[in-house]
Amino acid sequence: MSEVLLEVSDLHVAYGQVEAVRGVSLAVPSGKIATVIGPNGAGKTTLLSAVMGLLPASGRVRFAGENITGRDTEALVRMGMSLVPEKRELFADMTVLENLELGGFSRRRAGESRAALSNTMEEVFALFPRLKERLPQLAGTLSGGERQMLAVGRALIGKPRLLLLDEPSLGLAPLITRDILATISRLRATGLSVLLVEQNARAALQTADYGYVLETGELSLEGPADDLLHDERVIATYLGKR
């Protein structure tokens, strides 16, 4: 059993009177991919935003054994967590290169050299060669797939231990989605842990080691991803017939 890197216990998130996430508990082991699937409006994005410190929440979140509940997003980035949000949140008026350089902001502030950052950037180019061709281009002019590559690449430049991915397939062609998920699978081999939130349940479960099903803010099902892929309830609600 791998060491648990991220542990969320009894997390509650509310928008005013409306509770969007209710008592969610989940874990992401080191070097594994956990996925949260569920329908639109189930609270998946809210869950990731709260874990990443972008939304206030109650409950307990631990990362690498340390209680990080209520910590600032910036502090979590420094600790080794990185979120690729659904909206990508790129710097549209800045070039691809500048976006990638900013991905290493925390590392540079921590005293790491420009050369160390360049090495990581080459690793990112190996995963997404397209980015290298687009370096001087403004991020706002990239295609949807390239933007997603840039968002993931920017997150990877920070050398995170845990990558939180919110709907990486949103708005992308199936082939590009497959490429991006395949890349994430390859990253697992480097020791990176991933919490993947995805509406495309089949692709998510095929990529992940462990899965959670979130419905109307609560976990309704969990188990090894392979088991969920063959679970009748999951097939009936999220996968349909092949």
Partner: protein, 342 residues
Amino acid sequence: MDVSIAALLTQDGLTNGAIYCLIALALVLVFAVTRVIFVPQGEFVAFTVLTLAAFEQKQLPGTVWLSLALGVAAASADIVAHRREPGRMLRAIAGSAVPCLLSALLVWGVFATGAGWAFQVIATVVAVMAMGPAVYRVAFQPIATAPVLTLLIVSVAVHFVLTGLGLLFFGAEGARISPFTTVSFTFGSINVSGQSLLVYAFTAGLVIAMAVFFKVTLFGKALRATAANRTGARLVGVSPNFAGRLCFTLAAAIGAASGLLIGPITTVYYDSGFLVGLKGFVGAIVGGLASYPIAAAGAIFVGLVEAFSSFWASAYKEVIVFTLILPVLLWRSFNTTHHEEE
């Protein structure tokens, strides 16, 4: 009006316009990064002149007490905010209050030792620069996510507080500082003062330095990133508080530079900053509080309009300058898409 008068007015207009240009750039920077329309920008200009003038008159600058007051206020805010996390509290105090308190010591030290002009200038600039992050910490950091209107109201309040502190610590007397040079050059029938050339060169240098800072350095890119996408910036580890402190430090530094340039040209009182800042603001509005080059051009245009209107209709000089804002706002209202505030 003959050519020599027109040349004289143009020189005057460009000189003042260059100073308004710096203020406009600072206003655009602060607004882009923090959404604060920084009304008290002119106060940094006035405090710089009054500090250096006090040094020249062999008096202890009121800046010592002003910096102490701001430093204590910033430290108190951090102590209250982080009372349960001593480590974080100390880091926060080091970023906002300590520079102010150390700069008070520096100003006092320069006065007490009778150090020369260069040290007086350095101490003045350092002290005014250190006020930037302290003002941000006390007034704006606690309400950083508030709507623009709230930030504007607080900005006006900060202006009144700083003007009041200026009166308390510097007194009601106006002051002027010695020109950096008394050299003048004659081109045909046109006489150009060395001070004006210095203003142009210094402004151009500062504009280029800012462009390089934003284009090349990591911190410059971090500020641009925060201005472009606050959430994106947080996700790469750029704290909004850090960005706020950094841009207020830069704004204060630009204010100090403007003070050094305007000090030998105009008599400055504790409340003179408002009018100077407002003229920079007109320039910034021309640029829609978003475009640095248009804001700079707008501010230089404001300087020229001011110079020529002081010749043709001196009693209405300010009226003409501030009326400039109306056609600009009208034009912008037709050409700008309205976005709901987040």
